[in-house]
């Protein structure tokens, strides 16, 4: 895919993060431009998920800097609300709120966090659920939905905050193979509309098709990155080669 890319929206500089003595991120730098679709691939435990959690301040970093849409994430006086309404996050385990219906899940944050008008939010929520093809299940509880359906509701829930960047943390890893596709279609549509997307994924075919840039991480560092055709077709680093040989 080729798109016209302009200003940098997410920027990481020498980010490090340790859990106790274990160094998860050892100096990660990357730039994500507006409208860019970035896929992060790499073996388990290479710090991919932690990286995403650092970007929306779910996990504090040890050193370096992260800037999202002009907001310095590592700032002690960080306005978490301002940051998180700009960055949507979808998790591997969907994490819908089980005591609320699909529609309520989508409506909660805009109403209670952004204090938006309930009727306006309802219209937006229904529109978003229809967008991910879950309009018919608006009144179902998460427990009544399949994994793929829950994940699509989770995407709609994040979109309801009207974020500028969407992050997807292995969102298809826990799904049945037959429901993976419906989730990937929803993500692809978002990307095509120009949403800035950062995906951690094991779906190499999908990464190749959708990404503008693919990053390969291993043991807390970015080993190699580039356009998918280049990274998948002609990996330079031996570690990338070994990883891709194993997976493809």
């Amino acid at each position: 895919m080729t798109r016209k890319l302009d200003e940098v929206q997410v920027s990481l500089r020498d980010v490090t993060k340790s859990f106790g003595a274990f160094e998860v991120l050892k100096g990660v730098s990357m730039d994500v431009r507006k409208g860019e679709v970035v896929c992060i691939i790499g073996p388990s435990g290479s710090g991919k998920s932690t990286l995403l959690r650092c970007i929306n301040a779910l996990v504090p970093i040890n050193s370096g800097s992260i800037k999202v849409a002009g907001i310095e994430v590592n700032d002690k006086r960080l306005d978490e609300l301002a940051l998180r309404r700009r960055v949507g996050m979808v998790f591997q385990s969907y994490n819908l709120f089980p005591h609320r219906t699909a529609l309520e899940n989508v409506m909660m944050a805009p109403i209670h966090v952004l204090k938006q008008d309930k009727e306006t939010v309802r219209k937006l929520a229904i529109k978003l659920l229809e967008k991910v093809r879950m309009g018919e299940k608006a009144n179902a509880y998460p427990g009544q939905l399949s994994g793929g359906q829950q994940q699509r509701v989770a995407i709609a829930r994040s979109l309801a905050m009207q974020p500028e960047v969407m992050m997807f943390d292995e969102v298809t890893a826990a799904l049945d193979p037959e429901t993976v596709k419906e989730v990937l279609i929803a993500i692809r549509e978002l990307a095509e509309e120009g949403m800035t997307c950062i995906l951690v994924t094991h779906e190499m075919g999908f990464a190749r098709e959708i990404a503008d840039t693919v990053y390969f991480t291993d043991r807390g560092v970015i080993v190699e990155y580039g356009p998918p055709a280049e990274l998948f077709g002609n990996p330079k680093d031996p570690r990338t080669q070994a990883f891709l040989a194993q997976i493809l």
């Binding site: 978490e80 998180r84 996050m89 709120f97 909660m108 905050m161």
Partner: protein, 295 residues
């Protein structure tokens, strides 16, 4: 699970019966997962056994009884209104102690999950003290610590024994409710907190709108179980001078001066408690089992 393979000339093949995972009835837990209190688990046959024993005792006593005295059944019927009035005191104490204990227990439980370490430690300590003390000792302590009357802005307010005993019983209830709240909240997966924070909910909003509504469902069976235990514990009021069912039973026995009434009367009171606690116990076990699966 059944797995039946039929063998024909071609070798081993699955016939009409394929392996099927049948729905299983999960065993309920024997202990409340948060407060560690054992579940009161009455079965219908407990009641059958109780009634059968009572009937046997009454019949046996009646056959050996002297002539000219009121029969056992008639004596029981005669004293039933008084016993029920005593039993209603037990119920009143149980409801009041549960209400007080729940209000303070919820507050204490929320303090146990506070973000401030001092509040957390303090409330934890308070919870542990009252949760691990014998109920009767706490009860005695409260009876002697609280004066029988006190002045409130010049008005003399007398405190009855039953209200003091109720307060004494509400303390261990408070501590157990505190543990149920803490355990219930902590049983909600951490990813729910993460998802809420990712949607820009603050700590308070997350707790009240996302975590507590889910936890409340898990807290209900242990809370109901606690009520069943408390109801049975209200007879401790007998020791500290409250005129409740057991106190009246002893007074009736003394008044009648008949030893053949001992077993029937105590059995009768036992039956009253059983009939009240039994449905609560069954409902608790039912909810515990039902919600454990989809929680």
């Amino acid at each position: 699970m059944t797995c039946k393979a039929t063998k024909n000339s071609q070798g081993l093949q699955f016939g009409g019966t394929m392996p099927v995972l049948h729905p299983v009835r999960l065993p309920h837990k024997h202990f409340c997962p948060y407060s560690g209190v054992p579940y009161v688990n009455f079965h219908i046959w407990h009641g059958v056994l109780l009634i059968a024993t009572l009937a046997l005792v009454v019949t046996a006593s009646a056959s050996t009884g002297d002539q000219g005295r009121l029969g056992i059944w008639d004596t029981l019927v005669k004293w039933t209104p008084l016993l029920l009035s005593g039993f209603s005191v037990n119920l009143l104490m149980s409801i009041a102690a549960m209400a007080i204990g729940t209000v303070f227990g919820v507050i204490l439980g929320l303090c146990q999950i506070s973000l401030m370490p001092q509040i957390r430690t303090g409330s934890w300590l308070l919870t542990q003290i009252f949760r691990n003390s014998p109920w009767l000792v706490t009860l005695f302590y409260v009876m002697y610590v609280i004066p029988f009357e006190f002045d409130l802005f010049g008005t003399r307010i007398a405190l009855s024994d039953w209200s003091k005993a109720t307060f004494g019983l509400s303390l261990p209830v408070m501590a157990n409710v505190s543990e149920i709240v803490r355990g219930g909240v902590q049983s909600i997966p951490a990813v729910q907190w993460e998802a809420a924070r990712g949607l820009a909910f603050n700590h308070r909003q997350t707790l009240w709108m996302i975590i507590l509504p889910q936890a409340a469902k898990r807290m209900l069976p242990p809370w109901m179980n606690l009520y069943a235990i408390l109801t049975m514990a209200t007879v401790l009021g007998n020791i500290v001078g409250v005129t409740e069912a057991l106190t009246l039973t002893r007074e009736i026995i003394a008044a009648e001066a008949r030893t053949d009434l001992l077993l029937p009367l105590y059995g009768y009171v036992l039956l009253m408690f059983f009939l009240y606690v039994f449905p609560i116990s069954r409902l608790t076990i039912y909810l515990e089992r039902k919600w454990a699966v989809d929680a």
